[in-house]
Amino acid sequence: MKARVLIRPKQGILDPQGEAVQRALPALGFSGVANVHVGRLVELDVEDAQQLQPMCDKLLANPLVEDYEVQLLDGGADAK
């Protein structure tokens, strides 16, 4: 099945990339934008969805500084 992992910087940690994007948007005419954060996306086909969490903990994310969310794309999402 297809899975999608969204990886975001943990709350409270400085996110300069998010800040840079947040600063750039008004200059392009977009107002009312707040709380921009920049992270990573990993998409993969897996046979065993149970393996996704350990994959995230071990390699795909750094739990010290990142949170992640796993989405199963063939019906239903599983957030963490």
Partner: protein, 225 residues
């Protein structure tokens, strides 16, 4: 004394680390796929872009067969020095606390910096004195040191903060201007600046980097400088 310098696909400064290590002892390259550390007395995990910094800097290199041996070596008390990308690998491998995040200025930056020696009582800084200034270049895009407040407090208490950027010098936004840290046991040390690029009068702006390699030699050989 023999240094082992790891070489991953994408390592860049392993050649420079090898040359620097050879100024104080013998040194050989250790291919990432090999588990045999070739009798090295100390290990250097060098700078560069191992595996292209894909996913996260150091995230893939930490699983190399050679790194498995290095982890065992470290657990047994062997001295391990991680420089720049090497520091990132050691944090990913959990041999050192904390993580390296993208520079506060978001850009790769290369600059000769002043560092301060916070703890001169380690395997890696014994040839220095506390409070001494070292002139060493830094060149990286992901060098902002982060650990949560509780970890940082514990590290400070146990003397694990080894080097700091002198006031106003840091471009990466590291918490408390931390430039280099060691583990609790004091045998694993990581720093973002590159001491191997401050060992030669012709190409280095100072010889201060040599002190780090010399300290390691002192620790292994037990003989005074």
């Amino acid at each position: 004394m023999k240094f082992g310098v790891l070489q991953f696909p994408g390592s860049c400064d392993e050649v420079d680390a090898l040359a620097a290590a050879r100024l104080v002892g013998e040194a050989e390259l250790i291919w990432h796929g090999e588990r045999d550390l070739q009798g090295a007395d100390a290990i250097i995990v060098p700078g560069g872009f191992s595996y292209g910094d894909y996913l996260r800097a150091g995230a893939i290199a930490r699983f190399a067969p050679a790194m498995e041996s290095v982890i065992d070596f470290a657990r047994e008390g062997g001295p391990v020095l991680g420089i720049c990308n090497g520091f990132q690998v050691l944090c990913e491998a959990r041999l050192l606390p904390g993580a390296l995040l993208v520079n506060a200025n978001r850009r790769f930056t290369f600059r000769q910096l002043q560092l301060e020696v916070v703890n001169a009582d380690t395997t890696f800084t014994r040839a220095c004195t506390e409070g001494e200034r070292l002139s060493i270049p830094a060149k990286h895009a992901w060098g902002r040191y982060y650990a949560d407040e509780r970890t940082l407090a514990a590290m400070r208490d146990k003397g694990q903060v080894v080097l700091r950027y002198a006031p106003g010098q840091s471009f990466n936004g590291s918490l408390h201007d931390i430039a280099g840290v060691c583990n609790e046991a004091g045998n694993v040390f990581g720093l973002m600046p590159h001491p191997e690029h401050a060992v030669d009068e012709l190409t280095g702006e100072s010889l201060d980097g040599l002190k780090i390699f010399e300290s390691m030699r002192l620790a292994v050989d037990g003989a005074p400088a």
